[in-house]
């Protein structure tokens, strides 16, 4: 019962044939499209290492069927910034050492994207709450939180700079 899926990922349109209904979006992205930034971390819908933006919403791509991607707009970590220029969130993770092994990082950043879209000036508490769907085994979260707060500041000053 296969389907052909037409989807836009990181601004590029893809048409993939022979997609089984049971194919999970994370496997579609990784194995069909070669976008291996979304990671499979837990198999239990807990860790969020597979987080991507799906029609603007951050979702766990391991817990949504690829067939639901029909006509969707998806953003993965690979699509965050034009080549050579990091998105402020990515910069923040660098500045604040928000990663060690890096396995949770794409998921953390994509969740961070939604967080900052919904709450451009978050408190630390809010950042911690909104990251509840993303687990990290290495860092103890402190630097991840600081990276996101750093990015929020950076985005805010970029915005004011634009206005001038």
């Amino acid at each position: 019962m296969v389907r052909t899926i037409r989807v836009t990922v990181n601004g590029q349109q893809y048409i993939e044939e022979n997609v089984e209904p049971r194919l999970l979006l994370v496997h579609f992205l990784r194995d069909r499209l070669g976008l291996t930034g979304a990671h499979v971390g837990c198999d239990s819908t807990n860790c969020g290492a597979c987080t991507v933006l799906f029609n603007g919403m951050a979702v766990k791509s391991c817990t949504i069927l690829a067939v639901r991607a029909q006509d969707a707009h998806i953003t993965t970590i690979e699509g965050l910034a034009p080549e050579g220029k990091l998105h402020p969130l990515q910069e923040g993770f660098w500045e604040k050492h928000g990663l060690q092994c890096g396995y949770c990082t794409p998921g953390m950043i994509m969740s961070g994207m939604q967080l900052l879209q919904r709450h451009p000036e978050p408190t630390e508490e809010l950042v911690r709450r909104e990251l509840e769907g993303n687990l990290c085994r290495c860092t103890g979260y402190q630097n991840i939180v600081e990276a996101i707060l750093w990015a929020a500041d950076k985005l805010k000053s970029e915005k004011s700079a634009e206005k001038r």
Partner: protein, 288 residues
């Protein structure tokens, strides 16, 4: 892991979905947000041969006020619910519950209908919907039926929904402005299911007397437990420290909660009592 092979349909109408449920009978399962069903399928604890996905069916996601009720479409996501001003203002206890289901990512996809139909014993909505006196609107090929919350949740993971029916809407009578409700949930980590949870809704008269109280406990049985003894104690009373103690005791009378990896039965009893008391102090403080 990977689910077993299944046939997949995503109809664009409720009639289309109903026809599929009738055609495939016991082989078919509805898919709403997928945040409970897909994890089960990935572990192969559930392997429906046919999935009927409701995501394309128009008109199942809404929050609106109708004749003293808030009507919520079954496919409305937790995120939509807790960020809805209508829910926040008119039924804040439901917004509180919607905000603690799973995590922010799960809340983007998970739905109230899917969650209710899944009827996990430690989920968040069942106790709240019982306390609120919610009604469930159920579609079937031969018409529509409406069922109350207590009747809807029959047993663990079991509702009154038949295999050829679709839950289309949850309707909640708007609590009066003189009422106050709170949902408290104990979980080890933010994203866990409830070890226990408590939904308390109190309607107070102008003279400070409690007109009625709704107290429902989650995670202490196969279905939400209505603490009727506690509710009777509160009726017609003004809250005092002593009464709160008595109500706490009454709320856990006769409870036989499960023992599992997260907590044993006695712990659940002890914490439920604490949470009922905390909830009462909180709602009383709010409307004093």
């Amino acid at each position: 892991m990977i689910p077993r092979v299944f046939d997949y349909f995503d109809p664009t109408s409720t009639q289309g979905a109903l026809d599929l449920l009738v055609k495939y009978g016991d082989d078919a399962k509805l898919l709403a947000g997928g945040q409970s069903l897909l994890p089960l399928m990935k572990l192969r604890l559930a392997s429906p041969r046919v999935l009927v996905d409701l995501w394309r069916v128009a008109g199942l996601s809404y929050v609106r006020e109708e004749n003293g009720f808030i009507a919520i479409g079954a496919m409305t996501t937790h995120y939509t619910m807790h960020s809805s001003e209508l829910v926040q203002n008119k039924i804040p206890i439901l917004a509180q519950a919607a905000q603690v289901v799973g995590d922010p990512l799960v809340r983007n996809l998970g739905t109230i209908g899917g969650s209710a139909a899944h009827a996990a014993p430690n989920a968040d909505y069942p106790a709240v919907l019982v306390a609120l006196g919610a009604e469930f609107r159920i579609l079937r090929s031969r018409g529509v039926r409406t069922v109350g919350a207590k009747e809807f949740f029959k047993d663990i993971f079991t509702t009154t929904l038949q295999g050829d029916e679709i839950l289309s809407e949850v309707r909640i009578p708007i609590p009066p402005a003189t009422s106050s409700g709170i949902y408290l949930k104990l979980s080890r980590r933010g994203t866990d299911f409830a070890v226990v949870s408590v939904a308390v809704l109190v309607k107070r008269r102008a003279d400070g007397v409690c007109e009625s109280a709704d107290v429902a406990l989650g995670g202490v049985g196969n279905v939400p437990v209505r603490a009727t003894n506690a509710e009777s104690l509160l009726q017609g009373q003004i809250l005092t420290a002593q009464l709160i103690e008595q109500v706490g005791e009454a709320a856990v009378e006769g409870l036989d909660p499960p023992t599992d990896v997260h907590a044993d039965s006695q712990y659940r009893i002890d914490v439920s009592k604490v949470y009922v008391k905390r909830a009462l102090r909180a709602v009383w403080g709010e409307i004093s």
